[in-house]
Amino acid sequence: MTHIKFERNRKMPSDQELLKHKNFDSVLKGYQAGSAPTKWFNSAKMWGGIVATACIAGVGIYLWVNSGSDEVKSQETTLTENTTTEELNHDLSEIYQSTSEHFSIDPSKDTILITANGSVINIPAHGFDTECKSVNIKVNEIDDPVKMFQSKIDMAYDSAGTKYHFESAGMIEIRAFGNDEEIQLAKGKEVNIALVTNTVEPSYNLYHKTESNWDYLGDANTIFQPESVVESNQLVANDVQNDEVVAIKKGVVKVGKLNPSYPTFDVDVSRHEELKSFQGLVFQVDPGEKDFQEDFYLVSWDHILLDKKDGNYFINLSRGGTKYTFKVKPVMNQKDYQNYVQKNKNSQTFYDQMSNRKKLYKQEFKQQNLIFDYDQSAQSYMVSNAVNEEVKYQIASKSRRLFSVQSLGVINCDHVLPEDIKKQVELAQFQFKKGSQPLTPELTYVIIPGINSLFTFEGNGAKYYAKNGKTKVWVTTNGRIGIVKEVNSKNFETVALYDVKQGIAEIEKYVEN
């Protein structure tokens, strides 16, 4: 669902008023500077920060591992030889600010909020300890290391003096404000949440952020529910991950192998959702169609349209006043067919696994049952968003995690990583030449590929690098983002330092990959 604000009958300013914004010189300057404000930095204030950062421009930095013995390639960067530790640690906190969604609600009523990410928050009537007639809700979903970096959320966890590190399935920050003051839930009130997370792994618990640590809320209230539990025709369009797999599983499409002794029709399948994602799909007329003549393949038809009736496909051929309809079969050539069969096999295995899980989760769901009503609400939301009537099940890489909280703040679905995880990385120090004073970041953030977490190191001169030679490590410093590719303990094959704007864009690419 789209978070929309309708402007009804809004008055468009006059042309004269709008023309006062016209300023080609400014456009030209923006083009020449190549300094277009980007998605991350739309406000002038933030842009000012970037410009300030970019002022430290220059070339030629040699990056050395602190051990001092292994020289690495020099790269052009935004740092100069005159850059100091202070400049390295330039405060760009404005830029790091994360974006949030804001909702205004009537606290006397039950409210269901749907976030842009598809998560659902159910707030009970009179849920807040306030007399305010309107409460503002701020929601921030933090589901990847970039957002963790922006939100400055420490993923370290102290359990009775033992230090651990979290990996997150997904995190949500919910805060409520009445008369601009933060307020909390009333005693005995709970907020139910269905958090969309990017993994279907069930091994995550629930934690609540405190000032210096995380409170374990337990796993009893965490119900893992893969989307495959969602039955019948009620699916959310943008959660459908693989139409083709779904279509195969439900027998919506039965594809055959192409008969090479017959020609084929290559037909526009855009009207048929279930066919759109198949590669190399063509059609051959059913041998049972006695009126079909092979010459028909050679005719330049005005229109060739594909229809579906009772699970069968029909092709409508027309030219001038002549029209024919024949039953056809979707087919593929040998190579595409083999791929299709393999995919079908894989999806069958996955589907079976998901079906087994589904039974398990249904049982759990019954046992827990505390959020049953809430889930009904979520289901009705899904009904309203159903678009693909033929899809019966969804096999998705996402899941929703359903839980209730009695206190707002940052709630994290996560599990602890092995204790030695931090040993897998070392912090590269920034030096201009061997023996020179190293630049010491106050804080260094490290992202390890495949782990949805952010590791924070205080600048103490320690060095961290990936032990696995093929692993990429991304070192982000406070004010600079260093990206170290193909690292091992001896050599950096590629090293680059970026300013924040470019660095975040690079990290985004990395996270997406």
């Binding site: 929309i4 604000k5 402007e7 468009m12 080609f24 998605k39 739309n42 974006t99 678009v387």
Partner: protein, 191 residues
């Protein structure tokens, strides 16, 4: 109405040729982009303004649109479609980018005078209650679906122009519009 909104479609051949020359000049010298900017500033600004919260924000996005246009103009190829469609597409991308990263409520401008055609499509009578139901229903559409409805029914753009702006085939635009209208009907019948 359509002619005034899509005036580039009704340009004379001479004007189209003149514009092609201006584009070629701008490819060689960015400063020569000025006549194109002069011609299209207002319509791009209005397009953006209808989709965002404030005039200032519209100004930022509009400016960014033209900066991007200047950056990309070397790769622009005339494909028989108005130059404005190319600019609209850049503007639309900027708007999408803005909402994707800022996560603010997407603004949809609805004028009562724009609704009758949509009502006609979904075969219901126009009255205030119906208007409110329709507006609530639209909240349940996806961003892409809203864009299609905005362009087709509120801005009266042709299918071809919508296709160009959204980088879709004409057939795809028609299919998507058909589905969206069907979805609205379904949602209204459920409400």
């Amino acid at each position: 109405m359509i002619a005034s909104l899509n005036r580039t479609y009704s340009k004379t051949e001479n004007l189209v040729e003149q514009e092609a020359i201006e584009i070629d000049l701008a490819k060689k010298d960015p400063a020569k982009f000025a006549p194109l900017y002069e011609r299209y500033f207002l319509q791009i600004f209005k397009y953006v303004f209808k989709r965002v919260e404030s005039e200032d924000l519209a100004n930022d996005i509009c400016q960014q649109t033209f900066i991007n246009a200047l950056t990309k103009i070397k790769s622009y190829k005339h494909r028989g479609l108005p130059f404005s469609s190319w600019l609209y597409r850049i503007a639309q991308n900027e708007i999408n980018q803005f909402y994707r990263t800022q996560k603010r409520a997407r603004v949809v401008e609805i004028n009562d005078s724009d609704l009758p055609e949509l009502f006609e499509e979904i075969v219901v009578d126009v009255n205030e209650e119906r208007r409110m139901i329709l507006i609530r229903t639209m909240e349940q559409l996806t961003a892409d679906e809203i864009s299609l409805i905005e362009m087709k029914y509120f801005e009266k753009r042709s299918g071809q122009e919508i296709a160009e702006i959204l980088d879709l085939s004409l057939a795809n635009v028609k299919v998507k519009l058909h589905r969206t209208v069907k979805k609205i009907k379904q949602l209204i019948s459920e409400s």
